[in-house]
């Protein structure tokens, strides 16, 4: 037994601070994603190369963060959160405008999207705050935690970027929930949220977002305008059937009736070409990754790690659910990519960075216990 536990005889994965099952799930997902992208991009090799490069960078980021001890994250949580919030304010003040939204900060040598940093900084900071108090949380701590979630959410919503602001908000809220937010408050929120949504509709939401919601409720009302995306997406999914039309044989995707087919709507391509069987496989893969993430969280040895790991995992689920929900007509189109499958840079790096943190939490606990 001692021999097996001897640090000198650790396997390669342990040496690299990687969690085997989680890594296997992520690799399988990314490989699946590459195949779908090859078809969805119309066999576009340049796009494949760019995506692969990002995958390498993203896995690099994961590997790097896996080596960092959880305490380090805890130490840097608040400074990162404050810096991120400051940058969000700067984006609104002098940000770079792209596609009608102000999301980028031009640092001179590179363009940078502070909202991506906040995707990790918010749960880290909230987890730090929550873990510094006994659990379950008291009401006033909840309020402060809530405000920590709300500030960046509102700032990002102003850019405007509804999808990211929702993701950041839920990432923080998940920490509060896992930290023991009382059921009474959860029930109360469940009642307040509809009212809040209505208030958002009246005072916060931009016209284009309202239009998306309206066409979500009845996409056929505007088949050539804003309803076009969702109608074409449902046609793609529905016409795929149980077995699918076959890889690279989707008519909706290959003939380009499907918009944004390699980014937000890649799930529709997947559904059309690989059918319900493929979808079940993909959902199983996501469920496996989420389950593994929650197991890592539950096995973590301090509250900060538990809360952060749990939040990262559940946020990952929100990505999956919002993306699939929006392309299949369950949710409004809010512009969230399908994690690790959609083509697109920053979000993938951020996601893998999150998994790097999970790896770190998963592999550093024994050392923690020894201290």
């Amino acid at each position: 037994m001692n021999v097996l536990k001897d640090p000198g005889h650790k396997g390669l994965l342990a040496k690299l601070h990687l969690d085997g099952p989680l890594l296997a799930g992520l690799l399988l997902l990314c490989i699946t994603g590459l195949f779908v992208l090859y078809s969805a991009s119309g066999q576009h090799w340049d796009m494949m190369a760019a995506h692969s490069t990002r995958l390498v960078v993203a896995f690099g980021a994961m590997l790097f963060l896996a080596q960092v001890k959880p305490q380090t994250f805890s130490f840097w949580a608040v400074p990162l959160f404050l810096a991120g919030t400051a940058m969000l304010v700067m984006v609104l003040a002098f940000g770079h405008v792209g596609k009608g939204a102000q999301r980028w900060l031009d640092l001179g040598f590179m363009k940078f999207q502070p909202s991506e940093v906040m995707k990790l900084a918010v749960p880290m900071a909230v987890a730090w705050y929550v873990s510094s108090h006994p659990l379950p949380l008291k009401f006033r701590h909840l309020i402060i935690g809530f405000i920590m979630c709300a500030i960046p959410t509102v700032l990002i919503q102003q850019q405007p970027d509804l999808g990211t602001s929702i993701l950041i908000f839920v990432a923080g809220i998940f920490v509060l929930f896992l930290g023991g937010m009382s059921w009474r408050i959860i029930t109360a929120l469940a009642l307040i949220i509809p009212v809040g949504c209505y208030t958002m509709w009246l005072f916060v939401m931009h016209d284009y977002q309202k239009r998306r919601v309206l066409t979500f409720i009845n996409p056929e009302s505007d088949p050539l305008g804003s309803g076009y995306h969702i109608i074409q997406s449902k046609i793609a999914i529905g016409s795929g059937g149980f077995e699918g039309k076959g890889w690279m044989h989707g008519t909706q995707s290959q003939l380009e009736f499907l918009p944004e087919r390699h980014t937000d709507f890649i799930f529709s391509v997947f559904s059309e070409e690989l059918g319900m069987i493929g979808v079940l496989f993909l959902l199983a893969l996501y469920a496996f990754i989420i389950a593994r993430g929650l197991i890592i969280a539950s096995r973590a040895q301090d509250n900060f790690s538990k809360l952060l790991a749990g939040s990262i995992t559940l946020t990952f689920f929100v990505y999956v659910f919002v993306n699939i929900g929006m392309v299949s007509g369950l949710l409004p189109v809010v512009g969230v990519p399908l994690p690790l499958v959609s083509y697109g840079g920053t979000s993938m790096v951020t996601l893998m960075a999150g998994f790097g943190i999970l790896m770190s939490i998963s592999t550093h606990k024994r050392l923690l216990a020894q201290q």
Partner: protein
Amino acid sequence: MIKRRPSIQDPAAESQMFNQRALFGFAVVMICFLVVVFNQYKLQVVMHDHYVTRADGNRIKLIPQPPNRGLIYDRNGILLAENRPIHSVELIPEQVKNIPEMLAELAKLIEITPERQQEFLKEVKYHRRFVSIAVKEHLTEQEVAIIAVNQHRLPGVTLEARLTRHYPYGELFTHAIGYIGKINAKELDKLEEEGVTANYAASRDIGKIGLERYYESQLHGQVGFQQVEVNNRGRVIRILDSKPATSGDDLILSIDMHLQQKAKELLGENRGAIVAMDPRDGAVIAFYSNPSYDPNLFVHGISGKNYRELLESPDRPLVNRVTQGVYPPASTVKPHMAILGLENGTVTEQSRIADPGFYKLPNYSRPYRDHVKWGHGWVDVYTAITKSCDTYFYDLAVKLGIDRISDYMKKFGFGSRTGIDVMEESAGLMPSKEWKRARHKQNWFPGDTVSLGIGQSYWSTTPMQLALSTAILLNDGLKPTPHMGRYFRNQSKDTSLIAPLERVIEVKNPNNWRISKEAMRQTLMVQGGTGFNAFKGISYSAGGKTGTAQVINMAANQKYDANAIREVHRDNAMFIGYAPAENPTISLTVTVENVGGGGANAAPIARKMMDYYFTRQSAAGAQP
């Protein structure tokens, strides 16, 4: 930073609480995934067929393919209306690296005006990159050849050919065959009314006048379809299915191109019309109206200037004189009047009248002059026709009365359309008491009846009506339907267009037909007949009747002097005739406007037509 307070924490309880929460979270995750699975099931299994239909609706498009229009041949198999390729040089923007450079290259090879080049560069901006755009249309054969040999140097440039109608004989058949032109809004409405718009999905042209219009539905053919897969921008990815267009049926005419040419040659510069018909079945052998115009001008859209010229020409070339020209029939209807007189018992084969050179109505002093000032003396029905005695027919007409004349002459087809296969047809006019009251708010005067006897007064006919009435007379009261279209031919079978004869006149005494025809034979074959000089020395037998129609009414005492009056007021020369006299195979109706007497001006034309016809026939018979 706030200091940690680990002392009051309970790690075990906290851990348990966290695990519960995590488990709860995972339960929510699984519920959400179940919702997704349920929704996928709904879309991909339950509503699968619905979405397959819609996906196909997206990607499958029908591209109509125009049918080739049926060709038109004369009776000898000579092509009168054909489909010719017109060539254009086209360019596909996405296949050309530098469009202005390529355009300059093309302009070196063939002439492209700078204006056209500018226009083309603009067009490029408004078209999809994969759509071929014409750089120049209507290429000459030489230009086609130049582009063809340089093709390898011009990637993205293609030569395209499209079929359009061409009438190789130009103005010779314009009034008979007509022409096609671009479908206009009115015609589109009509197609919609008939419910055949789909059949015209790929067609640009439609028959505008003549046979092209009359037989439009058969000549046009059936549209074909190509079922193609397209992408979201409409680019054709591949062809899934195709149903080729069915060409229109070819139309074979009874017209003889050579005789038609002869008719044109004989009319020369004169305005007029010539109809040659086989009286046995109404088959039209020549159908020519002079002057004519080039139908090819209309196929590609005539210029405003050219059209105005045609419209404003005093010779009125746009009028189809064969079926739209209305002329007083004059003496050409005397044989018809004779039949009525004999049938009615008003005259007999032997009865005679004395002709002093004029006719007076009882109790009226106004004389109605004969064209022979001193009169014809004693005149029977034969002399009345051969010498074209006016007095005889003045007398006959008055004795018969307007009602009888009007009713009987309508049986010969006067006053109604003949049913010839062109739509541009006038009904002419067979006057009656009722008509005059309705039209002129006047009673019918006895004087009106007098001149009706010699085919004047209000009586007006088209050359085609005269030809038909002659055929009815020659067939002893059986009416053929005049037609130029003999039959339609497609791959599988021929469809005849010849209608059976119809009895329109019953006679008490069939001998009356013989009397009238014998008189017409004598008119041409016996010295003293008004057509004798014109037909002197023919190698066949023939019959006929001359006519000289007054264009303006002369005062009773006024003498006609051709030189003294304006050309347009001179008499029209008329002639109807047929050959061989015993068993006619061809009849001719000749109308020449404002040239004078029919015996001198119309009969010689008919004779030359017949000579030509029989010469060609015997030549064909000698060398079968």
